[in-house]
Amino acid sequence: MKHTISELEDIASQVRRDVLRMVHAVQSGHPGASLGCADFFTALYFEVLNHNTKFSMDGLGEDLFFLSNGHISAVWYSVLARSGYFEVNELATFRKLNTRLQGHPTTHEHLPGVRIASGSLGQGLSVAIGAALTKKLNRDNNLVYCLLGDGELQEGQNWEALMFAPHHKVDNLIASIDYNGQQIDGPTEKVLSLENLQAKFESFGWHVITSDGNDMAAITKALHYAKSLTGKGKPILNLMSTQMGFGVDFMVGTHKWHGTPPSDAQLDNALGQLKETAGDY
């Protein structure tokens, strides 16, 4: 372990503060799933990923991460900044004119840490598979990670990718699903039910693990375990339960904060629930 669980939890608390302040400042963005995934991103970037913050697009000799559900850019940007890819103060430019921190992640403005544009859903798993194939051709034993939303699984392209990876034995890939059961129009069960995801993924040929994405010890352990399963002929799928809005009592567990920013009073209330551990930007 590079950090104790308590240290990681402190970082995640700061990341949640960043997310709330970023979306509040421009009164736009997606706080709900950003808060829900703060623990995953913190565990990944501060504990699990073998990565070089001196960014290169090709990422030779290091692990790669792709975010498919690009609307949760705020949490990714915070973790990239907090782990050293760019100055933390740049978070203040989120979604503003001429920023590198576009509403959805892009390579177009050359933000260190981002290797593909995402936002239009359903494409990230395919991209991650492509990067994983290239790692194999380059005889680079590092891994490729990817995060997808659960609502995003309604996009058909995911199922093309889910079919491809086991067939081609892409076993250097760990895909995580942000399984929060919510999407813009309501609970996924009501909008378009995902049914038994674990059984679906297993029947496609993935090695599926489940985890609690809002328990730092559990998600860290799950990602390390996922890593130990690579190289065995199957792609790995981490079905990660989270709660949208986790960490803020009035935001948790509802789709209402998917794309809604907090008001001034709501921000104060939320920040009061989250420890400032590394200094606000």
């Binding site: 177009h108 593909i116 239009s120 395919s126 290239t134 079919m163 491809f164």
Partner: protein, 318 residues
């Protein structure tokens, strides 16, 4: 009129296949992906010689485009192969976000473009692909005219860093350009110098423009014929230089009149040097089942249609 001859007819898709095979030999970073049309795209030689660098994706074009985008990360140069319809309209959002906007070095190689696909009919005969692709910022759009030029173009795009759309087709057509040509992206190819009218043509229409040029010569009309193999970036200098000399232009393409080469030329001329222009293109229509030759006649893409368009353009000169 300069005399063009040929000794054989070949399909441009085979030029792509030969070019891809050669590209694979020259650069170990070249990889090829295909969506269950390896044979139709003539990718067998590459796949057989470099099995590790060939990815059979299955009938899943959206997945293929994004896998190709991902494969560039780490230095590979992916060439995707499927029909033009499935290379563009079916996967437009994937190309837009993961390839064009992301600036990825993917070569989108598209066969069976246009009416000359023939009997399979309109579901497969895309006539909108040039427009779709040229609207994407940063996308290079190439439509070579014969086997040799398609092979040369395939090798040229390997050397170019950035997204490219390479369009070619199914029918066997005359091979009239040199086997040893150097293909320069964005550089128009002068087929015949003339003074009375400029004819610009792309893809399969270049040979038809040459046939039209011979008929025009018999009528005493001296046509300048230019092969625009690169629709974007357009060789504006070559087109303007020619139109300033001839005073009118006819554009020829196996594509809808909306969104294709003709509209690129019209934009150029109206903003710099207005001149009479006539379009030889499909008149905002889908295709249908028939032989390629029957379709080219019905949809007015024959040399006789070019001759008529030339006469009209010349009559509009002041």
């Amino acid at each position: 009129m300069k005399k063009y001859t040929y000794t054989e007819k070949k399909d441009t898709r085979s030029g792509f296949g030969a070019g891809l095979h050669e590209a694979g030999k020259r650069n170990k970073n070249v990889v090829a992906l295909c969506a269950d049309l390896k044979g139709s795209l003539k990718m067998d030689d590459f796949a057989n010689e470099f099995p590790d660098r060939f990815v059979q994706v299955g009938i899943a074009e959206a997945n293929m485009m994004c896998i190709a985008a991902g494969m560039t990360i780490g230095g590979k140069i992916p060439f995707t192969g499927t029909f033009a319809n499935f290379s563009t309209g079916r996967v437009y959002d994937q190309i837009r976000q993961s390839i064009a906007y992301s600036g990825k070095n993917v070569k989108i190689c598209a066969s069976h473009a246009g009416l000359t696909l023939g009997e399979d009919g309109a579901t497969h005969q895309i006539l909108e692909d040039l427009g779709l692709m040229k609207m994407l910022p940063g996308m290079v759009v190439i439509n070579p005219c014969d086997y040799n030029q398609t092979k040369a173009a395939t090798l040229a795009i390997m050397e170019y860093e950035g997204p490219v759309y390479l369009r070619f087709g199914r029918p066997s057509i005359p091979v009239f350009t040199p086997a040893d040509q150097k293909f320069e992206i964005g550089k128009a190819w002068m087929v015949n110098e003339g003074t009375d009218v400029t004819i610009v043509a792309t893809g399969h229409m270049v040979w038809r423009a040459i046939e039209a040029g011979e008929k025009l010569a018999e009528l005493g009309i001296d046509a300048e014929i230019i092969n625009i193999h690169t629709i974007k970036p357009l060789d504006e200098e070559a087109v303007l230089k020619s139109v300033k000399k001839t005073g009118c232009i006819v554009t020829c393409e196996e594509h809808n009149k909306f969104g294709g080469l003709g509209e690129s030329i019209a934009r150029l001329l109206t903003t710099t040097y207005p001149a009479p222009q006539e379009f030889v293109a499909v008149d905002d229509s889908f295709g249908e089942s028939a032989t390629p030759d029957q379709l080219m006649t019905k949809y007015k893409l024959d040399p006789a249609d070019i001759v008529a368009a030339v006469q009209k353009a010349i009559s509009r000169k002041k």
